[in-house]
Subunit: 510 residues, 2 copies
């Protein structure tokens, strides 16, 4: 079997608990979605079925239940929480949230909109971004109301705060060229947590609400196919429960919130080849693309399937940012002090996955770091260039140009901030391999089903598929390539998850 | 209406002749594909229905008919021929074709495979490439047998031959880094034609065969929806004929060969944002994405939807290649003497759509060319840099590096061939804007339905959708980003179109 003939979802899926006993032979032969006629009886039912228990699914379940619906939340894995629970739980919020105001941070909806729409992917979903920014402050209040804890403390670090602070610059707002787009503001809202476990705290709060509201929660129930009526309406889902096939009727609607597909290697190769060489799938094991695949099989369009988050975590410590990052031609190509998602994107998507960090005595990576290997060391830049096999004189010329201007506190190419800008000034010089296949580069996917503002899923003809909603990384939302700030993904998942839950509970309204 | 809620196919489609009278209200509400139950009678029928009359559709119709099927070929536009007819008609073939042998050109299947699989998109469809290379020589014989005329004459130009020669280097085989992958060979096979009308000649021959074989051909019949049975089998198609809705029964199978989607602006923005700023849709008006959308609506997966061909036609004359191409940082980023599809890819996908050609006295663009505007002119490189607003000293440094090595006949960065390698040596210096939005950059799309070796269409679960086939730019085939050689698209369309036609005629076999 090869890339041409391998079922993109089945082989890996077969390895997962609960799927082994389910052969596709039992399906109506070849039907991408199950016709209603093939379902003789329903094993379970609910007004709203939510598939997936991460931030998107939990938010959808909460709002659907509050809108009066009988809600069933299923999760393919043994534990609830999805990829959100292993994330840092950052929510990108702004325009003057309660926390921003309490900390004296000035921000506007317009600045937030300019940043998100201008710094990231080309031709982004402007209407979603607009709504997200306008309602961001209210959405943060909602998170607080669900019991997510935040502390009125501003972090000064460039990474997720580790000392319990709840607000920080989580993206590339201060780096060039983003800082010319809009007044920068810290917008990364982090639950109070020990270390980087904010996602666990966030999900604990949301899942507690889900349970308290009386949502029925079932783990180890894995979606397989949507059941679709003759009129195109999505009526339910065929699932696998401990190896047994069951059907669930969703009277008002289904919310697909099953994450992305970074753990499905065939899908990554087919859809997002640039991410295929990233060695670390950064998501919960449930990110198998099943929600996306169920949607496509029912006629949904999927957008931006090639995009994703390739993280090259250069810092901390921030001292390394006084080094320079170069490509295989010895050229700089990005502001080193940008968000590591922007750096990762530049390497994965635009430098064929290859780059090196060049440091001097004062900017070396710490001895204990093991994310990136030192692949050359020498007393001169020429020593490095020779060891790396770089084109003759190229690295030397580029370092000379950089040093000449850095000595005047200038970086004409990428406008690195003064704090990190000084000439490379003394041996030993080192080169560290940042190439995707040779270093620690976590990745996940951003492509997903084409949805509207209420999570309604569009077919390839742009028509709403009745009864079907999607949120989080199962949908094509705010995150794009480059990924410009931590918190956009969980922010998008909670915000649009809520809207999808409400719309699904409203039934035919959407 | 915005990007979130606009039907990607409908608005533009509505502008086309024959579609005006067809409102979607008449469809079964929301059904992405039509259930068989909704079709009370069939207006027409055939064993095999082929949608689209370009190279893929014509090749499919020929082979389906020869396999004994009753074939109906429909075309949405008034004339047959599709985008192939307005192309140069180049077919990329090798491994020792009759024409290569007659001209004393040495080539091997292995060299051709190494080039196609190694020089283009990451993680390409290896099994398709392998088969294509192995059977390339036989496929060329087939084209000759259909009456496509070739002349035993080798061209020395880098572009489609204009003097009736039929073989040339149509890609980046001779440019670095491709030339290190495999022994280069000319593989662009061009029908004998006046100027660049090889596509017309190719399609005239193929369509004459279609007609002679007794295929029923109907123009101005536009596909709208696939009709799908409860078991998932594709049974037929709903079409629009002069504003009237009709249904066509396909007893054995349907081949979707309706081209790509470069003329559908909403689809381009949603799926291939990097191509959205290319000002010239380079395809026939029928490339509206309808075949792809009909397939997706029936549960098919679509791959590589972001990829396409952005053409920056620097040459001829080849003398301009002694200039250098730089990005907004004054850096070179590609071998100037590469195929213009590789250059266009580098600009569109990796330089945010912006680049400039820098020339000296001996490498200026001709006075009469109007593809690219001269945006700066001066007596020194510094004059140019200042006029262009480039970062301080960057262009000057890069030109100095280039000149220093070019004086020794070396190009350490991109290994430009000696014929084009010399220092920039005298005023006036000029800069020409190659940026997508400001110059002549034709583009078309490469993304399409996920198909196997026989054109069978896969659902998102990797299962064959019975009765459905796709070929040409309606499928995800050999062309990727970067597009490495003229002829891969029409080559893929004819080769896999033939296979799809044969398989569809065989009915349940596939």
């Amino acid at each position: 079997m090869t890339d041409q003939t391998t079922p993109p979802g089945l082989r890996r899926r077969d390895l997962l608990a609960g799927f082994g006993a389910v052969a596709s032979a039992g399906l109506a032969a070849g039907a991408a979605a199950l016709p209603a006629a093939a379902v003789t009886s329903w094993d379970m039912s609910a007004d709203v079925l939510v598939a997936g228990s991460g931030a998107a699914g939990a938010s959808a379940a909460i709002e659907a239940r509050r809108a009066g619906a009988d809600v069933l939340l299923i999760e393919s894995l043994p534990r609830f929480g999805g990829s959100s629970a292993i994330s840092a739980g950052v929510v990108y919020a702004g325009g003057g949230t309660a926390l921003q105001r309490a900390l004296g941070v000035e921000d506007t909806v317009e600045a937030m909109f300019s940043f998100i729409s201008g710094a990231g992917t080309r031709h982004p979903p402007l209407e979603k971004i607009r709504l997200y920014c306008e309602q961001s402050s209210a959405h943060f209040d909602w998170l607080v109301a669900q019991g997510v804890p935040y502390r009125e403390q501003l972090a000064t670090t460039m990474t997720v705060p580790m000392a319990g602070e709840s607000l920080y610059f989580s993206g590339c707002e201060l780096a060039w060229p983003a800082r010319e787009l809009a007044q920068p503001a810290p917008r990364g809202h982090v639950p109070v947590a020990t270390g980087m476990t904010g996602g666990r705290v966030l999900m604990a709060a949301l899942l507690a609400q889900v349970a308290a509201l009386g949502v029925t929660m079932q783990a180890q129930v894995a979606g397989e196919r949507l059941v679709v009526g003759d009129d195109g309406r999505v009526l339910g889902m065929q699932v696998s429960v401990a190896g047994e096939r069951k059907t669930i009727r969703a009277r008002r609607g289904i919310v697909l919130a099953s994450g992305g597909f970074i753990h499905n290697r065939e899908m990554v190769r087919n859809y997002a080849p640039e991410l295929y060489d990233c060695p670390v799938p950064w998501a919960g094991a449930g990110d198998q693309g099943m929600g996306i695949n169920m949607g496509i099989a029912a006629g949904a369009a999927a957008l931006r399937m090639h995009q994703g988050f390739a993280i090259v975590p250069l810092y901390p410590p921030e001292a390394v940012l006084s080094g320079i990052v170069v490509n295989a031609f010895g050229q700089r190509f990005v502001a080193e002090d940008t968000y590591y998602g922007v750096l990762g994107d530049a390497i994965a998507y635009h430098q064929q996955g290859r780059a090196w960090l060049i440091t001097d005595r004062g900017s070396e990576l710490p001895a204990l770091q093991d994310d990136f290997l030192r692949v050359a060391q020498g007393n001169t830049v020429s020593d490095l260039a020779r060891q790396l096999g770089f084109p003759k004189g190229a690295l030397q010329d580029n370092v000379a140009y950089y040093n000449r201007h850095a000595a005047n506190s200038e970086d004409p190419l990428f406008h690195k901030r003064p704090a990190f800008l000084r000439p490379l000034q003394g041996p030993p010089y080192s080169a560290w391999d940042l190439s995707l296949a040779k270093s620690f580069v976590p990745a996940h996917t951003f492509g997903g089903l084409h949805t509207g503002l209420d999570g309604e899923v569009f077919s390839s003809f742009g028509e709403v598929i009745p009864g079907l909603y999607a949120a989080g990384r199962t949908s094509a939302g705010l995150p794009g390539a480059p990924y410009i700030a931590s918190g956009l993904s969980v922010g998008d998942a909670t915000f649009f998850g809520r809207r999808a839950g409400r719309a699904a509970a409203g039934g035919a309204a959407a």
